[in-house]
Symmetry: C2
Subunit: 444 residues, 2 copies
Amino acid sequence: MSKEKNFKPSKELPLGFVDRQEKELLVRDFVISNIKEVMIKYGFKYLETPSFEYTDSIGKFLPDKDRPDQGVFSFKDESNWLSLRYDLTAPLARYVAKNYMEIPKPFKRYQLGTVWRNEKPGPGRYREFLQFDADYVGTNSLQADAELCVLISEILQKCGLDKKDYTVKISSRKFTDKLFEQLKIKSKEQISTTLRALDKIDRLGWEEAKKLLGVGRKDKSGDYTKGANLNSDQIKIIENALKSKTSDSEDVLEIIKIFKDYNFENYKLDPSVIRGLEYYTGPIFEVNLNFEVKNSKGQAIQFGSIGGGGRYDNLVSNFGNFNCPATGISIGLDRLVFALMQKKDFKIRTTRPVVICVFDKNKNKEYVAILNKLRISNISSEIYPGEGKLKKQMEYANKIGSPAVILYGDDEIKSGKATLKNLESGKESLVKIEDLSNEIKKLL
Amino acid sequence: MSKEKNFKPSKELPLGFVDRQEKELLVRDFVISNIKEVMIKYGFKYLETPSFEYTDSIGKFLPDKDRPDQGVFSFKDESNWLSLRYDLTAPLARYVAKNYMEIPKPFKRYQLGTVWRNEKPGPGRYREFLQFDADYVGTNSLQADAELCVLISEILQKCGLDKKDYTVKISSRKFTDKLFEQLKIKSKEQISTTLRALDKIDRLGWEEAKKLLGVGRKDKSGDYTKGANLNSDQIKIIENALKSKTSDSEDVLEIIKIFKDYNFENYKLDPSVIRGLEYYTGPIFEVNLNFEVKNSKGQAIQFGSIGGGGRYDNLVSNFGNFNCPATGISIGLDRLVFALMQKKDFKIRTTRPVVICVFDKNKNKEYVAILNKLRISNISSEIYPGEGKLKKQMEYANKIGSPAVILYGDDEIKSGKATLKNLESGKESLVKIEDLSNEIKKLL
């Protein structure tokens, strides 16, 4: 916070944060409205917890411990530490504990909200993103887990994806629990470091992730991350286990049986699905897109998952003596939107206003009369909002992508007709004021 | 961050933050969809800046300096300070400076987003709230200022308010500039302390605000705020000026002339409108609700404004050599929603699912078949999502406010009919599976 007199602040954004433009926001609105429709149909309640929580309340379940403050934005508030939520699940557990007596059990809620991760920013890695979460709280029933996969599928199809465009992968934390038993890994820290390393296979590839299973890994920037210190035999056992395409985990088999009742076939059993968060206790899911996605440089990339989730039966009981099994799923909306926008045949309509040009400030009343007529007909429209000659006004209309301009100079006012200029075809026509709305609707 | 073994984290929220329930969120969605419709019609572009900015970039224009860190949440990030935005205007100025060459001029954008203020929390005073902002950037035209008032009016009417329910008050920063000249106040600090004190008249009343114009004020909690150190003559001059119901400010007179072109009459000229933010340079607006609003204790309260704005011609030029006059308006959506929910005749529909009861886990396939039929007909529905006897399932259905339950036991399965129990009337009827959707639609 500089105090210099001629100090000019930065026009840039901190790393890991972005400005989002209209087209992306409209696609996001489209996705959100589909989510809300499906959530109502499936009987979920809409809830919103705030962005800040007591740091203690949301715990430290984050997979990324590269940073001293455990990957969260934390803030000292008088005598307490507050943190921006890093997911929507930990705040839900706090909400359930706080309102345990009042809420129905089971409790089904969905939330849409921004989450923050104070991780090392990098290309395509953001520190703030919008999530959608749906959770079943207070139930052991694996029907809940199964239905989460079914509902995500319905949402994606509503957004225009075909069955071939995505896969819901399922596995179970019980599978890795068994693996760790076999490997004789018992220390909580070693287990969580191993889970985090395994979760990074998708992004780093097996060879790099292997380093994190061993002594550690230096990334491109030179930063060093300590590994899980497994020996080469242990790493070999893991490699083989992840390659197997079956899992005899009972919970997963039960879910697959329920999928049949729903005629849901768009899943894949995949033990290599890990999910980094420590709080999972049973079935875990991951939603992957199968169509080609390009990065900002136009290169086809391994896009990875757009979300996932799983069962977390012990999270609420951190707050006290609650027996409150739960399961949930999260979708990263920014990632889904990014991919959707690249899908062939996916279109979103943006509306740009018709511009009424200003010839004479004293004729404002006449311009406003036209404007009100157009707006009453629900036509996006504006009087040129600045000051300047006609040429500048036309440049403005072209720049904003206006479909047409209306010219209403002295001659036109006398005749009771305005000139409507179609900016796409360049064609001009004289139109009676009362017919303007209809003529404009024809050219939109 | 306690490390004790049996440590139980708090179930409470930090002061100034709240959980929001379905009904409020649905009203908010309704308001937001109205805003978006009006924004498209008026030709504004949808934009979203991130929640974090470099602290330097968004400056220190906050009215509340009671706190050492100027009322913002700030975080040290390696060598830079980041802050959560305290409004949507300062980030817009940063965005405009960053993209000055690319954006159309004038530039009209709207944004919906959470803002944070690290102020002293108190009853009804939150530290996070959702704002809607619409701005005209790069124009001196007072038509822009006038249209902001007109569009807010249209939004409020779309939300169900009558003309008598709200007033747009207008004044001008030029009015206080003149007043300060008359009072011979020149120091920037004294001016901003005076503006903040005046802006608090609504909330504290004149007698308490007067203390802030003088030496200072101790609040109920015992906290002391230094005043502007004006003498009693100066305070008297201010008091008289604020009581006058006219303003000869040229900009305000011009705006009122433009209002006539729009047939907009729902405004009031009011020099006592101050707005605390320092960056205003010309016309200022405030939107007030006129109907009775009660606080959480059921007491009728002086609700005050739901938003406002004004012209800020110098904000973008803080970033460099930009000649970029601008004007904008903000609405506090949480406050508007809070008031709307109390308005007589205002209703919002919440949808709760029909519950299909579970008699036998092995009959899941039959239950899912019914569920799919209902959901295809877009009926909110679910299979009881837990485990337990019929009595518990009925209690659950009543608790969530379900309109009906479906009972499909062995006898019913044999007959091809299900029992539909209306939970409002208590009436039961046997319905053929293929007729269920229609029967349910009748009772909704």
